[in-house]
Symmetry: C2
Subunit: 423 residues, 2 copies
């Protein structure tokens, strides 16, 4: 990516919703553009981050047998009436349509996936299976003020699993928990993500939230101190925590520490809550009709972009983990004209790395000071910054600095050492 | 893809909106599932076709310098009031939101992209550029009855270009026309797609539709016979055609032939229609403020899936062109148990081809007759069908049949000849 080609720009000005760190950093870095409160457009760099997050989530969902589909954002009112949620879900957008009809603009997809699956499942032999989508959802939030963390429009991965009985659901639920752990690990969030017990509704004692510790988090969770001592990250959410009464469901410990956190995903055992009203049932091996048992497994994709921005940043800007960064190397030539050696060599490095499949940004702007270029590199937060200048080239070198490191190091211009570092 | 793993199924029953060929074939083939009239969910096979179409469109948009972004589906009412379209676009969904506010559910994105671009463009030096998205749009259609061809919810690619003056727009417009031609070519639609002159609005004499000849098409176009004789596919749409009066804008010919067709894309010169109300203007080299001149370039992604389904099918089912097919090879073992040689050899072939990056479907169902399997293969419409049976294996062979061919041929089981055929 050439800076001179990118139509977006960084900004020094605090963004209009600067109260939210993610909105401020992502806005100033040229990652997102606010359409209105709680509604964002993703700019070229931001879309790359989203796609990187999506790819990781997709891989892990495929690995546990999830079949990718893409469901509609609209659903007929009758589906939501059927489950009784048309009138009870307060954030549901109810859309007036032609000829007096109304549609739901789905904030979640049980009302679509159950009738969809019903067309295909006729026998216990078709079970179990799971399907998922990565798709845009809508919530009529009265107040939206946390940047991309709590939006009126947001991108979710939602997987639904279908089972003949509770035991089969529980087995898959554990498999999905494993996949979720891998996802946090791959996003560099493993160390700060807590499996957090939450209220389970009518069909199971608990549901589970995946809460990422963040000083700016909108939730408070209660970390099990005993679990932590045993090397596990377990917590209980505010809703079910009672001072002096709560017992850690995993360790039996009674000591908890409150922490600020932000929710990245949640998983539920739905039981027959949605299959029953739609009569999603099949004969079992004995020919007896069984209502399907369901699980649902969400991850906030656009929300994760905000969480990662808040978790990996400092006063200078963003510090993306390599797995989601929009590029791996940010090349800065120190040159004022295209015919200078540093400019030509920086471009040659850019071409060579790009050829090798390493995503790079080159700041090929000529009308901008070195100070501005370096400040922009810090703000944009690519993992590795490379400066090519007349001074470094004199020694056949370039200056390489990790965004997360304090000090730069010199490396030979040939790029061999840099490539090694990137592996 | 293993048939036994796929949760969706083919269906022998005509679909509820069988009046539309694409809805019937895509529904029966297990590609889409109707949520409600004009609103579809895409099943695993259907999503693969969509992604293949998207990938081709994306590549060609990137090639002409388009920068991919992802804009919001929601926009504030004020943006649409600003251009005067809140009250004039009859298919606009107007969404009641919290605290008495209203949002637009965008059917097109001029009202979002112009304010977005305004944040970044300060000088003539920032021009020209173009950005695009592949995104879900919404139209409040009073009647939706053409399957995925005219939906209330649909996936579009929309690119917007920004220029200092009309001449610069015209140059880019021609470049975009070239990219569009490449896209139809790659989708195997080149031979039947006509650049069709349409009304241009206030800023140019013409806009252009890309119309694909289809006996079931919802539009009538008038093909320029003289252009056709010269080897070009040019037409005029119904709106601007006048019997005995219309002259072909390219050849000057006056002979036209009516044809049924379906619109796959359209391009417009927008002039300053949207930049003016938002005051999107920059100083030119002389310091004089110039309102930006815009172009817009649409392609219906989900619509193309329907067009391709109608253009490439016969009475037995779909016949996807290789470039968009959800798989390249459909392997059918003739076997009743997993321990039969034909079953094992078919699986081994599936594994080997998959390993080589060739997408395959294997119909590994054991409880289904050969007749049903072959009918399903024809319905699903993968370009190449391979039968592995005890009879073919006796000669070390397998039976290979192109979906579009009448006759099958025998090829050695080792797959070398098949691989050659696939290249």
């Amino acid at each position: 990516m050439r800076f001179s080609h990118l139509f977006t720009k960084t900004s020094k000005d605090a963004q209009s919703d600067a109260a939210s760190i993610n909105a401020d950093l992502l806005g100033r870095g040229g990652y997102v553009s606010k359409t209105m409160a709680g509604v964002y457009s993703y700019l070229p760099l931001g879309l790359k981050v989203l796609k990187n997050i999506e790819a990781i989530v997709r891989e892990e969902m495929d690995r546990i047998g999830g079949q990718e589909i893409l469901m509609s954002a609209l659903a007929p009112k009758e589906n939501w009436m059927h489950t009784g949620r048309w009138n009870t879900v307060d954030v549901l957008f109810r859309l007036p349509a032609s000829e007096g009809s109304e549609y739901a603009l789905n904030p979640t997809h049980e009302e679509v996936v159950v009738p969809l699956v019903q067309r295909f499942v006729n026998s216990y032999k078709d079970l179990p299976f799971s399907c998922y989508q990565i798709q845009t959802k809508f919530r009529n939030e009265p107040r939206a003020k946390s940047g991309v963390l709590r939006g009126r429009e947001f991108i979710m991965k939602d997987l639904y699993s279908f089972h003949l009985n509770q035991q089969d659901l529980e087995e898959y639920y554990a498999v999905a928990q494993g996949a979720y752990d891998k996802i946090w690990e791959r996003l560099s969030l493993g160390e700060r993500t807590y499996m957090t017990y939450a209220s389970g509704g009518s069909f199971s004692k608990y549901s589970h939230e995946y809460q990422v510790l963040l000083p700016t988090g909108e939730d408070t969770i209660y970390v099990s101190v005993k679990a932590e001592k045993e090397g596990n990250r377990i917590a209980v959410n505010k809703e079910i925590f009672e001072e002096g009464k709560t017992i850690c469901p995993v360790t039996g410990g009674t000591e908890f520490r409150p922490e600020k956190a932000s929710e990245a995903g949640n998983i539920f055992q739905l039981g027959t809550k949605f299959s029953a009203p739609f009569k999603l049932a099949v004969p079992d091996a004995k020919g007896e009709l069984q209502t399907l048992v369901m699980g649902c497994y969400g991850i906030g994709i656009s929300r994760l972009m905000g969480i990662l921005a808040e978790a990996f940043s400092d006063e200078k800007g963003l510090m993306w983990p390599a797995a989601v960064a929009p590029a791996q190397v940010h090349i800065v030539p120190i040159a004022k004209a295209v015919d200078e050696e540093a400019y030509a060599k920086a471009c040659a490095l850019y071409e060579a790395l790009t050829e090798d499949g390493i995503e790079c940004i080159i700041d090929d702007r000529l009308d901008v000071s070195v100070g501005v270029k370096l400040a922009d590199a810090d703000l944009i937060g690519i993992p590795m910054r490379v400066i090519v200048s007349p001074k470094t080239l004199k020694e056949g070198q370039m200056e390489v600095k990790k965004r997360s490191a304090k000090e730069a190091t010199m490396m030979p211009y040939d790029g061999k050492a840099l490539r090694k570092e990137l592996c």
